[in-house]
Amino acid sequence: MIAFDNVAYSYGGGELLSEISLRLAPGSFHFLTGPSGAGKSTFLKLCYGELLPSAGRITLFDREVRSLSRDDIALTRRRIGMVQQDCQFLDHLPLAANVALPLTVAGKVSVPQDLSDLLGWVGLGQLADALPPSLSGGERQRAALARAIIIGPDVVLADEPTGNLDWEMSLRLLTLLVELNRMGKTVLIATHDLNLIRQAKAQVAARVLRISKRRVQLAGADL
């Protein structure tokens, strides 16, 4: 589904990530952890075609990212739902229209009932008409998750999705992601919240990738 083959990345200075080879199998559930500044967000952007590797090959849905045209990248992103760390929205459109945006740009119509079900599912049913600038950080993250999954992607990537949430809300969001995984989606969550990881391991067969010394490695069971 997403495969890295001896990938390196640098923003121009020294290499931030090196010699990364790994494979996210369909239906798998992964955490990505590591200290702040280790390159977790960078790794997710590589998985998403937003950044291209400095060296090595990244394959998204069996196609090498470098061979993808601009349109191909757009189409690939419809199969990968991304919850960015700093979720951005179209500030002039109400929340519901923002959540439905992936359908809109794909030329599909959103079924109103499905949309309100989804908003209810992430606990934003009351805020369908609110404008994004009026939302709290946690509400924005849940809205971003709803937007990431509305088009039915195969993969869901989430960058620090619980960064702005209290513990109760974090658990709720985790539950949503676990549910998505049970529906067959491949899930990758970048987080430094070890409690969240422990909590997840109780619910799902989650594996943990850790970035240390520029490498990404499977962590042992010591978490």
């Binding site: 601009r70 189409l75 951005q88 179209l90 229209a97 945006l101 740009v105 937007r147």
Partner: protein, 300 residues
């Protein structure tokens, strides 16, 4: 993306696409205003060049390459001097032919003024001699001097010659009018390009969000292009109508001087300015489309 499909108003997908671009205050207003002002100016440039064209045609037609020598002489010298004039004319370079009019022809010429029963023989009428120029034309001043020497009663009347520089000037004026229209079109394209680029640059966050949710460049471009094209065509329509009203309100033939005669549209000529709004739409479409794709490639 074609211009026609872009302007089809009631497609649901388009109305949704329109909404993804935030209403952008002054660039949008600037586009309408520019298109309107330019269309307004273009109407006048068009009126000017059409009128100048008519003038040039009229004056060139009037420049039949003929002149007249009018000979007044005592009756007994008339034939002698006529021969002398014809001799001078036949040896003047630049004159193709010359011919004395018959009494019958002269009577025909005078008929409108004096009626058919004019006794031409009884009146001391001057003899008219028709002169036809050849290609390069003749030296008017030199001919006048030779005639004065050979036939004192002969007067060279080449009144249509003064129109030649005017006909040339009118032709130039028409060219200038057309050039102005071309310049107006180019300036319109440039300004709309600037406005569209500015709008895209001001909306980088919108572009980033759209990209993130899987929008193609063509989709994003279309949203911007549609907005600017619609703005431009409505602005141009208003400018054109105001310009046409302005032309219609110009002083009429009777009250204005001879140059202003017909500075306006005549008959089917009124259809010409109506092509301006669609033309502006085409210009705006091409300009914003090019600007949008260029800008989108810059914003990776």
């Amino acid at each position: 993306m074609t211009l026609l499909s872009l302007l089809t108003p009631d497609r649901k997908a388009d109305r949704q696409a329109d909404r993804v671009v935030p209403p952008s205050g002054h660039t949008a207003w600037l586009t309408s205003f520019t298109a309107g002002a330019m269309a307004f100016l273009a109407v006048f440039a068009l009126a000017l060049s059409l009128a100048a064209g008519r003038l040039a045609d009229r004056w060139s037609d009037a420049l039949e390459r003929t002149a007249t020598v009018r000979l007044s002489a005592p009756e007994d010298q008339m034939d002698l001097q006529t021969k002398a004039v014809l001799a001078v004319l036949s040896t003047t370079p630049g004159i193709a032919s010359s011919r004395a009019m018959t009494d019958a022809e002269q009577r025909d010429l005078l008929k409108p003024w004096f009626g058919p029963d004019l006794p031409v023989d009884a009146l001391p009428l001057p003899r008219l001699i028709e002169v036809t120029e050849s290609g390069a034309g003749y030296d008017g001043e030199g001919l006048r001097q030779r005639l004065a020497a050979e036939a004192p009663g002969a007067v060279l009347d080449d009144h249509t010659r003064w129109r030649r520089p005017l006909a040339v000037a009118a032709g130039r004026l028409r060219l200038l009018g057309l050039l102005s229209i071309a310049l107006i079109g180019t300036a319109t394209a440039a300004m709309i390009t600037l406005a569209a680029s500015a709008a895209l640059a001001a909306n980088t966050q919108v572009v980033r969000v759209l990209r993130q949710v899987g929008a193609r460049d063509a989709y994003i471009a279309r949203a911007f292009v549609r907005r600017f094209t619609l703005r431009a065509i409505s602005g141009a329509a208003v400018g054109t109508v105001l310009g046409m009203i302005g032309v219609a309100l110009l002083p009429s033939t009777d009250t204005a001087g001879s140059f202003l005669t017909g500075l306006g549209f005549q008959g089917l000529g009124w259809l010409y300015p109506l092509t301006l709004p669609p033309l502006v739409a085409v210009v705006a479409f091409a300009a914003t489309r090019a600007a949008a794709f260029r800008k989108l490639r810059e914003l990776t």
